[in-house]
Amino acid sequence: MLTIQNYVKAKTLEEAYELNQARNSRVMGGMMWLRLGNANVKTMIDLSGLGLDQIEETDHVIKIGAMCTLRQLEQSEEIKAYCGDALAEAVRHIVGVQFRNQATVGGSIYGRYGFSDVLTCLLAMDTFVELYDGGTVRLREFIERKKDKDILLSIIIRKNPRKVRYLSVRRTKTDFPVLTCAVVTGEVHGKECWYFSIGARPMHAALIEKEWRISAETTKEQLEAYAKEVADGFRYGSNMRASSRYRKHLAQVLVMRAMESIITEGR
């Protein structure tokens, strides 16, 4: 059960940060996951009055405020123009519209949840997190850090030309995923790079990076060998939703499908 002694809607970021330094303070996102756990919170800090609910685009980046809802991600024209339907695909299977109207991007990322579709997709992209105290950090570094008392302000996606694909498997619609998969490719320092992120293994998403040259001429056998190499590169676990062997099999299939989809589109 969750108990909260004081609720504070922070008036400034500084106030939110100061309040959060106490051991039994918590910052709330959409409260979707927080409320299902057990915690005695002395001060619950609400960031909803600080203007962190905007998606801003500049020439080089898309900046997503931590309090943006998953529904905002799904409907953002800026995000769609950059990476097509991939991020929308990553969130549209999550429970329902009323849930996504409330769940926040900041909550999804800060929580480093094993089941997170959002984390899986953003991890494969050129993504950073902006922290109040800790500056701007690569997402892949941030998720390996221990949770601390800093405050996540925004998610920053660098708009380098990339092809992005997202796929997930669920036992039933709107359920937690059995496995999540994002595949991203683009040129980095003149070399063709492929980024593979697999989540819900059931551990949180992790990333594998490869410098592979793949084209329409690449044989199916070679692609399958690549997909197998990627799938073999992750650790998997078993839980009530699937065994580790089944997850590894799914990873190979989803990676293959995502690569084929990118090649079919042509680069």
Binding site: K9, M32, R35
Partner: protein, 162 residues
């Protein structure tokens, strides 16, 4: 702490604790259409609108709606009754327990989506669970309701032109 917000068009005040949940506060204020069905934040029965967006009131801290606008089924009686007739005509429901949350989502969908396909309707309403039926009657009712609404709208437009 005391909070003030607009509930179904009327300004209301309530005394709430830091961990009071909006669902409980709304029920105490007489909006008993708002119910808790699952305790795991996914059945959609507790759906209300906050600033005209559907939300799960079981996961909203009451303190957070201070100064906001909340709408429940009690505030949409006429529209709900009209759509309810379509549901009844299709024999869509069995126990009816899930209806309040479902109707809140349908009425939000009608406002948000323009002429949706069946696939889009299913996706929009996926967060409302019904454990009696297979949703087929509900989908027929929605299609007929939306068609009737469009015809009403067109007729009103022609009247204005005439």
């Amino acid at each position: 702490m005391e909070i003030q917000f607009r509930l179904n068009g009327k300004q209301v005040a309530a005394e709430v604790a830091g961990d009071s949940i909006l669902l409980d506060v709304l029920r105490k204020l007489g909006c008993v259409s708002v119910k808790c069905g699952c305790e795991t934040t996914n059945c959609g029965l507790c759906t209300v609108w906050i600033n005209n967006k559907t939300r799960l009131s079981c996961s909203v801290l009451a303190a957070g709606v201070d100064g906001q606008e909340v709408t429940t089924l009690e505030g949409l009686q006429e529209e709900a009754a009209e759509f309810g007739r379509f549901l009844a005509e299709e024999g869509a429901e069995q126990c009816g327990f899930c209806s309040p949350g479902f109707i809140m989502s349908v009425l939000a969908m009608v406002r948000e989506l323009d002429n949706p396909t069946i696939g889009e309707m299913k996706e929009y309403l996926a967060g409302n669970l019904c454990r009696c039926t297979g949703y087929m009657g509900q989908l027929r009712a929605i299609q007929k309701y939306m068609k009737a609404k469009r015809m009403q709208f067109q007729a009103a437009g022609e009247e204005v032109q005439a």
